[in-house]
Amino acid sequence: MLEVDSLKFYYNREQVIIKDISFSLHEHDILCLLGPNGTGKTTLLRCLLALNKPIAGNIFIDGVNITKTKSSKMAKYLAYVPQASSMAFPYEAEEIVLMGRIAHLSLGASPTKKDRDICCEAMECLGISHLRSKLFNKMSGGERQMVLVARAMAQQARILVMDEPTANLDYSNQVKILQIINQLSEEGYSILMTSHFPDHAFLACNRVMLMRDGVIMACGTPDKVVTSDSLSNLYQTHVCVTEATLYPDDTRTKVCIPVMRKKILKENN
């Protein structure tokens, strides 16, 4: 569906942020992009969303080159779920979800009943109908994230790009979001998400991409790609990937645990 071919991007020539990145995203895929801070993950997402203009390389969706497509058309291919921050003004949840329909409105037209129904459906599907008239800024982080996912669904694009969807969420909300991501992929969405939790790759994703210093270091299934060696190398700190048995069903899953051993603060003598 989405194909990225030797993408390159920099703000200034001396500091190339993305050096020759190629990958593809298929239908039903949940691709998790892992990498340390400041390595270009967000910049890569911005390039895909046409917020940054690539210096070289092409992006194809269904075989069509979209590097020069208008934003109104792009919005029908790719929906973006940003990290949940607060709004400057007291918007209600429903008003935020309705913003997802803009790409489908002709100039000057108001959202029709059909547009409103699509938004209702998206909120219904995520189980947040009861929040529709609640003020976005008065919601918890988990609720806000749900509203933003609902907006992306209302946009009716087949590819969802999520920037750290589980950041700043507690365990129950993390699990909720990951389950929703799973269900969305079953319904035919392709999902590209960044994360700082390698564990989430095992929990929800079928493919993982490790990115460091503007290049892809590895790409493949979580079992193959996420190993003690690769993660330690990726984050430049010791990470152990081990297996755990989950009670009470005795299912086994892999977990990633960072190992603390070095003293960082120097002692004063």
Binding site: R46, L49, A50, L51, K70, S71, S72, K73, M74, A75, K76, L78, A79, Y80, P82, S86, M87, A88, F89, P90, Y91, E92, E95, I96, M99, G100, I102, A103, L105, L107, G108, S110, P111, R116, D117, C120, E124, S129, R132, S133, L135, N137, K138, R151, Q155
Partner: protein, 349 residues
């Protein structure tokens, strides 16, 4: 199934709630519009008022003095119209800029339009220009200020909105400095008081020609903003998010800046600088109908018109002293705003 149907019912209800509020505000404005004709030195009855207006369209035997007809049609009518149009225009520009910059502290003169217009007017005054010349000069320099600010932002800031605001502030203080120079060289007998008075705003010199200039500028600007209302609304989620939602951010930015500037610069040219309204009326509107741009634009216009007309009526009612408009808007508006803030706690965060 129940859930869905409940959902849709509330949907309709909240929409009607907005319509009801707009209808009430509109009715209030219309009432105040007619009431305003009775304020002033010449007393007039309701029947005479209606007959004077009707005589423009149908034949009615004239039983009133010519002066009375002139006062109503040439003095009170334009002044009342201008109060509504300018109050509305400033409020809608304020609402648009606040949504564009995602910043509740922004007012229509954020890009330097008032400072430029103030300088233009003062420059014309010390050169002995007539009233039309003063208005024209205010218009040209107000427009120039915004164009300079916008160019600075495009050249140095690219897409950054922060640089646009900074550009506006810089240009504003530049024209502020020029204005200070003019004030120091202006003759203190006539010119300086005239400049000072102009800077505080007044509708006392408004005439029907001003209404005729104001109307097309307002209609064009409001029509543009109406066309792009949902795109403008999305900008409050941030320019990047707005673009991923399908908004042509650069185009919408130009639409907002040019429409708001046109409305503000014409208002300022007609009546001088009136602060406060463009900053605060959008907040009144948000307290009433929430944050959605298409709603606050409509409500801001009605409330802004209503508010400025109230203020100007007080000025006309207090005979003898000509209190500057800009002074009274802030004097009366601030306590009202503070009171409302404590009553309705529809917070920003």
């Amino acid at each position: 199934m129940d859930k869905v149907s409940v959902f849709k019912n509330t949907n309709i209800k909240s929409k009607n709630g907005f319509l009801l509020k707009v209808v009430i505000l509109f009715a209030l404005l219309v009432c105040l519009f007619f009431l305003s004709f009775f304020i002033g030195r010449y007393d007039i009855s309701l029947k005479t008022l209606i007959d004077i207006f009707a005589s423009n369209f149908i034949h009615i035997e004239q039983y009133w003095e010519d002066t009375l007809a002139m006062v109503i049609e040439e003095v009170r009518f334009p002044r009342i119209m201008l109060a509504i149009l300018i109050g509305g225009a400033l409020s809608v520009s304020g609402a648009s800029y606040q949504t564009l910059f995602k910043n509740p502290m922004v007012s229509p003169d954020i890009l330097g339009v008032s400072a430029g217009a103030g300088f233009g007017a003062a420059l014309a005054m010390i050169n002995g220009a007539n009233w039309v010349g003063i208005q024209g000069s205010a218009f040209v320099f107000g427009l120039a200020a915004v164009i300079i600010a916008f160019t600075i932002a495009q050249v140095f800031g690219g897409r950054s909105f922060t640089v646009l605001i900074l550009g506006g502030i810089v240009v504003g203080s530049f024209f502020g400095a020029l204005l200070s120079i003019i004030k120091t060289v202006a003759d203190t007998e006539n010119e300086l008081p005239a400049i000072t008075f102009w800077l505080m705003g007044s509708l006392s010199r408004g005439d029907n020609d001003d209404v005729l200039i104001m109307l097309p500028a307002l209609i064009i600007s409001l029509a543009l903003l109406f066309l792009f209302r949902h795109h403008i609304n999305a900008l409050s989620a941030g320019e990047d998010v707005a673009q991923t939602l399908g908004v042509n951010v650069t185009l919408v930015k130009i639409v907002i800046v040019s429409s708001s500037t046109l409305m503000t610069v014409v208002s300022v040219a007609v009546c001088g600088i009136i602060g406060w309204i463009g900053l605060v009326i959008p907040h009144f509107a948000r307290m009433l109908v929430g944050a959605s741009y298409s709603k606050i634009a409509v409500v801001s216009f009605l409330m802004g018109g209503f508010f400025l007309l109230c203020i100007d009526n007080i000025i006309r009612g207090v005979q003898g002293v000509d209190i500057p408009l800009g002074v009274l808007t802030a004097l009366i508006g601030t306590p009202v705003f503070a009171l409302l803030l404590t009553k309705l706690k529809r917070g920003w965060n």
